[in-house]
């Protein structure tokens, strides 16, 4: 049971500051959706939370422990990251991929023990990939490959799980299945989950809280209906997106171009 707290995060690359004072909290059992336009700093924030990018100021703590004080191995036991890229040229099996999640627990001779085998089996089971375990990663479908990578992150047995656009390359049914699985795991395993999502409707359907990021700062955070509002969506994302409420849930619908826009483009 972990919670992750980021306070006053400023971070960037070389001269460009991407995050300008971000606060974020994710508690055990909840799925926080990180949304915002391209370039808002979502992926950068995820890198800071994972300890992969050192913030220029501000702190990230996990259960009160400052991440900056931990080495890579110790961080990997607290925070798992599901990578966005899951292509590999080498013929690992799904089980071998899941076992990579145990890298931070390798013994001095680089061996894994029975605890590790159990964690891998449990991760594969939780993600519904046990049947795939002995298949080669380059011979399964995109959705199955993503499940292998999710199993890898789960096998880390970290309290915090970070996902960078986990639905990016999936069809709508697999998008839904993935988020459903992740939300269920967050509750069942008591994980604090933060997922960067582009699709506001998926965020509204699965996240317990939504954090809207724009220009490196949090614009608003809270329950989906309080963040995904017509005013905020049009301010942050621009025009052409209609927000309607249905069953108490906000839906974002892209509008076809108006007569005026078409005219302006033609002229």
């Amino acid at each position: 049971m972990s919670s992750v707290v980021a306070r006053g995060i400023r971070a960037g690359y070389r001269e460009r500051e991407v995050l300008r004072g971000v606060d974020l909290v994710a508690r055990a059992g909840e799925l926080v959706a990180l949304v915002g336009p391209n370039g808002a700093g979502k992926s950068t924030l995820l890198r800071v939370l994972a300890g992969l990018l050192r913030p220029s100021s501000g702190t990230v703590t996990i259960d009160g422990v400052d991440v900056a004080a931990l080495d890579r191995r110790a961080i990997a036991r607290e925070v798992a990251v599901v990578p966005q890229v899951f292509e590999t040229l080498f013929p690992f099996t799904v089980r071998e991929i899941a076992a990579l999640g145990r890298t931070s627990r390798l013994g001095p001779l680089g061996t894994l023990g029975s605890d590790d085998a159990r964690a891998v089996a449990r991760a594969l089971d939780d993600i519904g990939a046990t049947d795939l375990a002995d298949r080669r990663i380059d011979r399964v479908s995109g959705g199955e490959r993503q499940r292998a990578v999710l199993a890898m992150a789960l096998a880390q047995e970290a309290g915090v799980l970070l996902l960078d656009e986990p639905t990016a390359h999936l069809d709508p049914a697999h998008q839904r299945a993935t988020l459903d699985r992740v939300a269920t795991l967050a509750r069942r395993r008591g994980l604090a989950v933060i997922a960067v999502l582009h699709d506001l409707n998926l965020a509204a359907a699965f996240a317990s809280r939504v954090v809207l990021l724009a220009d490196g700062a949090v614009v608003r955070e809270g329950a989906p209906a309080s963040v995904i509002t017509p005013e905020l969506v049009s301010t942050v994302f621009g025009p052409g997106l209609r927000v309607v409420a249905h069953d108490g849930r906000p839906f974002v619908i892209p509008e076809p171009p108006t007569e005026l826009e078409r005219h302006a483009r033609a002229g």
Binding site: V79, E87, L89, F90, F92, T111, M152
Partner: protein
Amino acid sequence: MRTVTVFALLAVALVVSAAAGVLVGAVAIAPGDVLSALLGANDTSGTIIRELRLPRVLGAALVGGALAAAGALLQGMLRNPLADPFVTGTSAGASLGAVVAVALGLEPVLVPLAAFVGAIAAIALVWRLARLGGRTTVLTVLLAGVVLTSFAGALVTLILVSSDRLALRLRAVLGWLQGGISVISWSELAVAAAVVAVGVIGALLLAPRIDAYAFGEETAAALGVDLDRTTAAVLATTALLTGAAVAIAGLVGFVGLVIPHALRFLLGATHRRLVVASIPAGAMALVLADLGARTALAPAELPVGVITGLVGAPFFLALLVRSRRVIV
């Protein structure tokens, strides 16, 4: 089960090729005489077998095993089957180190160490150059490797021509540079074997962490790998293996490239298995290549690098064409 079968086959193949390497040569020696020579018979055959053929076969095995293991490590860390000590400029750096040592008249047993120094300087420089663009890609590593190989080659030629000590033995040195397991003494063999042993232990210890590079450096770091330390350790291990190999056999290309790649089809991707299998497979490949080099144009002798180049270069090109999509 499959793994066990592959390892058993590799072991048998290595023993058979080593036996062939000792039995066959420019001078015909009957198998019975080979056996008595191995048991210590004191005649011409005994000298040929014990002082020429056996050390040569063992040297070839050592070189092949070391290069293949080094290739497996480099490919794993770069996530690409196009890397090996030769194309990354490591071998060229090692050859420069070895030539400098010989030109300075250092003890022959120090040559592997000088080659190691050259190898580690070369691969560290290549890595530094490849890093300039931010992340390390196989393309930038290969480009830096090409540049460094040319530069080291030019320096080697310069030293060869200007050193009186080497000019006298120009033919022998040129043959060695082309990849030739020339006359090798038991003491040189022992030093190289010790260096390779250290390198192999390092490779085996590093292998599980190299698996974590499957999805790139960033994911490896997220999985708990200390990138700087691991990179340094892998490069040092590669340099040890390459230095020892180059000290014995000069520039032998493609063994480090082809062997791990072929084994991946048979054994899968995990690097500990791959490194363990690369050693007998690389050893066997180079023992056979050396046998070919000795017998193809007998009594004339080809540098073994000619054989590995003839077989390996087309293989490399095929690989390049196939993986064009994902080379960077």
